[in-house]
Symmetry: C2
Subunit: 674 residues, 2 copies
């Protein structure tokens, strides 16, 4: 009997172990869901949209793209993307989501294509780019065409030779006053645009950043809109070398592309002139400062931090449910094998990461509130808090993505061998997190930017200047040789972290100043790089803990006693885990004894215990539908093994008893050996 003769469908009954665990949850899951998602109305919208997507048979969400070739994946992605866009259009026309339309559709839509959509840059970068960079007249020309997708575009900044350091970009745009055109050119292979999503085979336009030259003078980097392909035939235009950059660890349906220019001419009007312009005679005129860019970058980073919280939450959901269904390795040899979750080492892998979801999510919310406040201040001409906001957004982006990767990997490994299967869903979560470690500002560069700010304000504090709110603790910190007295309360842990950060900022400042006597300021900063990374990370960890404390303080009066208790347990676990993770740093500057450390470890063990019955309720309450998790191990019903076999059966290799390679290669080889 061969496999393909066997038919089987996944049971619809609930796994018994999950059912029993759900009965033990000590709070009302729906109350938690409503609180977590910011109110019942949001949850209703969320579920409406999810149902719309799940029930759309045209999308064919059951089709497993992991078996396809690279090319087939792209073709299926374009197909699904156009269907999703139709839904998208319908929702907009219905008035779904109001002002929060994009925020509300983000996760439900992005889950349609786990490895990204070749058209999403139209909405995340191309249209916002036009709004930010084009004059009102230019916007009137291009934005409506982009909104109804009669042109499809991307944002072509990064080149093969330069990503982070954008001043180093090599593409040139030289104004020719005779023809009133720009000549866009790639002088070297490293000048090729490289990475823009959709660029390979999908878009027909791009916003292209190039070094502007006019009348023999260089005017820095400026944006141009360039048509890359014919709108009817989709053929690349004269002088355009274009294609996709090849297979990647993930995001293989984004169609990231490369683009080379061989003296491509575009009209004068195609320079996007909101910030600067070239007059017909070639004169360069600067229109306004680009300080607002910092604000936009912060907004993008808030989005990344929120994504990271969501990705960790999905991984925690999968690992938690699987650990309740899976039974393994008797603790007591006379008893049947327990649920894996009963092993304390398993709880230690999963529960602190569940707590981290809250810390990362509420830090993103905090950052968002700051962003809105600072943006309104900027509009009134007050730029004072901009550097603080920028510094905080940099380190949060870096730390949240670094920790999300660690989290997803830890949780995958907590699922043993089955986590290694694509059908477990972990790999797509991993690629989403790890890509965020590099894009929108490489993490090391991000942390160094935060550190630079901390060093700057430390200098200001030394000269008696008052510091902005999120770094005010640096000022409150008392210098001297007295070790900080250890207070094991949660606020005490926060204080100890802040003291440690302050001491380390002071040391880095001292070393930097000493090196400045021998080297340039830049080389001194370079040589102090390792210390600088550390202070930025510690600053960020303080902010994460502080946000979590605030979250609990704010919400506990508003929710039921049961839920408030659970949220306090989560805070306790998060704080104690953090103290233990950064013990090496804390011990250097705080008077913590071995007994105190033992006490922390005992608190950790207690915190695990107190969350034992709530844990499944929390992940259920995150309320990810099965199609979003897309995991054989993490579905709500817990029918893990049936789903694993069902997923395997989708492999085209399993659709025939004997693969042709046996007759083509294996059998002739065996015969030749006899």
């Amino acid at each position: 009997m061969s496999l393909f003769l066997v038919t089987m469908t996944v049971k619809t009954t609930l796994n018994q172990d999950l059912k029993e665990e759900r009965e033990k949850v000590p709070f009302v899951v729906e109350e938690f869901t409503n609180w977590f998602h910011g109110g019942e109305a949001n949850v209703k919208d969320k579920r409406y949209l999810e149902n719309l997507i799940v029930n759309n048979s045209e999308l064919k969400l059951d089709l497993d793209m992991s078996y396809m070739s690279h090319k087939e994946k792209y073709e299926e992605a374009v197909r699904r993307a156009t269907i999703a866009l139709k839904l998208f259009k319908k929702l907009r026309e219905e008035g779904f989501g109001g002002a929060n339309f994009f925020e509300k559709i983000l996760l439900p839509f992005s889950s349609v294509l786990k490895q990204g959509s070749p058209i999403s840059l139209q909405f995340s970068m191309f249209i916002p780019g036009l709004m930010k960079l084009a004059t009102p007249e230019q916007q009137a020309k291009w934005v409506p065409r982009a909104l109804n997708l009669s042109i499809i575009g991307t944002y072509a900044q990064t080149e093969m030779g330069h990503g982070t350091f954008i001043r180093g970009l090599e593409t040139t745009s030289t104004y020719d006053p005779e023809t009133k055109e720009f000549i866009i050119h790639s002088p070297t292979i490293t000048a090729y645009k490289w990475w823009p999503g959709g660029l390979g085979h999908t878009v027909n336009h791009a916003i292209v950043f190039a070094q502007l030259y006019s009348l023999g003078k260089h005017h820095g980097l400026h944006p141009f809109i360039v048509q890359l392909r014919d709108e009817e035939t989709h053929k690349p235009r004269e002088g355009i070398t274009i294609g996709e950059i090849g297979n990647k660890v993930g995001f293989n349906t984004v169609n990231n592309g490369f683009l080379g220019f061989d003296k491509v001419r575009i009209p004068l009007s195609h320079m996007l002139m909101k910030n600067a312009e070239i007059r017909e005679n070639g004169e360069f005129v600067k229109n306004q400062s680009s300080i607002l860019n910092y604000g936009t970058m912060t907004h993008v980073r808030v989005g990344i931090v929120r994504d990271m919280a969501s990705l960790i939450a999905r991984a925690v959901t999968i690992a938690m449910r699987y650990s309740i269904v899976r039974r393994q390795s008797p603790i007591d040899p006379n008893q049947p094998e327990p649920k894996v979750i009963e092993h304390i080492t398993q709880q230690m892998k999963i529960f602190p990461l569940m707590a981290k979801v809250f810390a990362v999510k509420y830090s993103a919310d905090n950052l968002m509130r700051m962003y809105l406040k600072v943006t309104s201040e900027i509009e009134r001409g007050d730029l004072e808090r901009l550097p603080e906001l920028h510094a905080l957004s940099c380190c949060l982006k870096a730390v949240s993505s670094n920790e999300a990767v660690q989290a997803v990997e830890t949780l995958r490994l907590a699922c043993g061998g089955h986590g290694f299967l694509t059908s477990s869903g972990f790999h797509d979560l991993y690629t989403n997190c790890t890509a965020a470690q590099t894009y929108e500002g490489e993490n090391t560069v991000m942390l160094l930017q935060t550190a630079r700010y901390l060093i700057k304000v430390w200098g200001q504090a030394l000269s008696g200047k008052k510091l902005p709110p999120t770094v005010a603790y640096l000022q409150n910190y008392k210098q001297g040789n007295d070790r900080n007295k250890w207070n094991p309360s949660i606020n005490g842990i926060l204080m100890a972290l802040q003291t440690t950060t302050s001491e380390k900022v002071a040391l880095a400042y001292k070393h930097l100043e000493a090196r400045k006597k021998l080297y340039s300021a830049e080389e001194a900063a370079n040589q102090t790089g390792v210390e600088l990374l550390k202070v930025a990370e510690l600053h960020c960890q303080s902010f994460l803990l502080q946000s979590t404390i605030e979250m609990v303080e704010k919400c506990t009066p508003k929710v039921s006693l049961q839920l408030a208790n659970v949220l306090r347990d989560i805070l306790e676990l998060y704080a104690v885990d953090l103290a233990l993770r950064f013990l090496g740093d804390l011990l250097q500057f705080n008077n913590i004894t071995s007994n105190d450390v033992e006490h922390l470890q005992q608190r950790m063990e207690l915190a695990l215990k107190s969350l034992r019955n709530s844990a499944l309720g929390i992940v259920d309450g995150f309320d990810f539908p099965d199609y979003v998790l897309s995991s054989t191990l993490g579905a709500y019903d817990g029918n893990v093994y049936e789903r694993l076999l069902e997923a395997a059966k989708k492999s085209p290799l399993n659709h025939e008893d004997v693969n042709k390679s046996f007759h083509l290669y294996l059998k002739p080889f065996i015969k030749s050996n006899l």
Copy 2:
């Protein structure tokens, strides 16, 4: 002009930056290579074989399998595997490698298929399994057929429901004395064999582990050889449900499979009876103890630890070369962009991992020496050191694979966005490392086994018993409240680590004993799990450092002064980095001041500086040929950007100007919107 009209070949000239760096290397690279690979003769053999493979045009190593569908990858893998087997046979006939044949061919051959071969289990598990489990008569029947590949087999132990805890396996083998047959059966879906390599569509036989029943009695787990497919037609035999388990994070050409039995009958003679047998009448007879299995498992784990060293070394090679070719972000704004390697934060990412290669490799060698010694002792009936060997092999396997993953990921991220491309070569390294975190003993389980041993010998030490060599330090450690005086020498760092381990073992022992008064010994151990993981890891880190110290002590008298200096620099970097990484633990039990920590950081910065000119020489000296690295970023000639574009051009999407999805989906959608 579209891409596919452009022809280009990668330059064969050396990148100028790499050339200049190579001229600065302060030692003779070939001396290092010969030392690192254990002698000139080994290097000669290695290069002979590598050339043979690179020059074999039938292998088609240039074909980029990452663009293929899952099914096509498998078919290409079978094709390449049969060609590799022909080479393999030729080499054996030539007498290549002598007794070290398998060791010598491992890396050159495994690099032919980055994601694993569907036939490799024939040599790594099936034939060794027969040698270990079959009687001499059975071996005479099966081994020659396996050696000439007239049968192809795998090792079917793990099931869908059980991996680590093998006593929980569910497949049954019930003896029927009437027909003198066993009936092999899968009573549940979780009893399906799941994971064996090659099982899906490649093998026709398997060693199957099943719970043996005879005359109504259960006799535990035993091995049987079962024919799964017809040798001529390759069709699955009656009662066999077989297929592959589906797409995975990596190893997609291994053809991992599943296997269900519906009362399959096999003759009595197909039980592999070296350790136990069933007589014709159904009587069960135990032949010999299986204590030797521990030895075999150690041997497999030595192999894994060596692999991890090699995988880290490959990732270091790629990141190092790329960091010399890549220029990014001016340190001094008035200077051109420096090589990325000039950034101290980049050195900090790469150099300590380069040092780790030596620590992991020489720990594996140490473990191998111990294994050979203990095995010869066992043959003389002396089993005393077996538990020590087992404990050490468990933690080394776990720690080396955990750290290899961290290393490969850090190095990939150090290459920015380009590291995310499959063509960078990092993803295959990553999947190799991360799979090793789970296979051959899940890492958490491994560490807990080591911890159990440490707790046991601690109890023995308390009762005055002398401890074996690798744990003797537990005995030398003085108990009491005196903090260990910090000695910053390398041996002092080792002592501090050992003191810390001892203190933590003592604490874990204390907590365990206290819990035993309330719970069963097993539940007490479970509740102490987090502490136990920590002591196992620390014990392992001590062994890694100790091995590295020994390596330098042994080799420095035998090599040139220049090379000896480099190796001492590597040891210094490794030791200081280790102390800083485990500072939290060290600070708890050693009298280390803030000044001492600052001093360690300064030593770290100095160690980076002292290795700056040697670094490229070291990775060149690892002597990986380009086909093994298989990386656009890490090739010897450093033509990174040309290779990136060349690799992109291999994408079938780039072989046509316009993909069909434009006409099928995109254009109709756009038109419908207008």
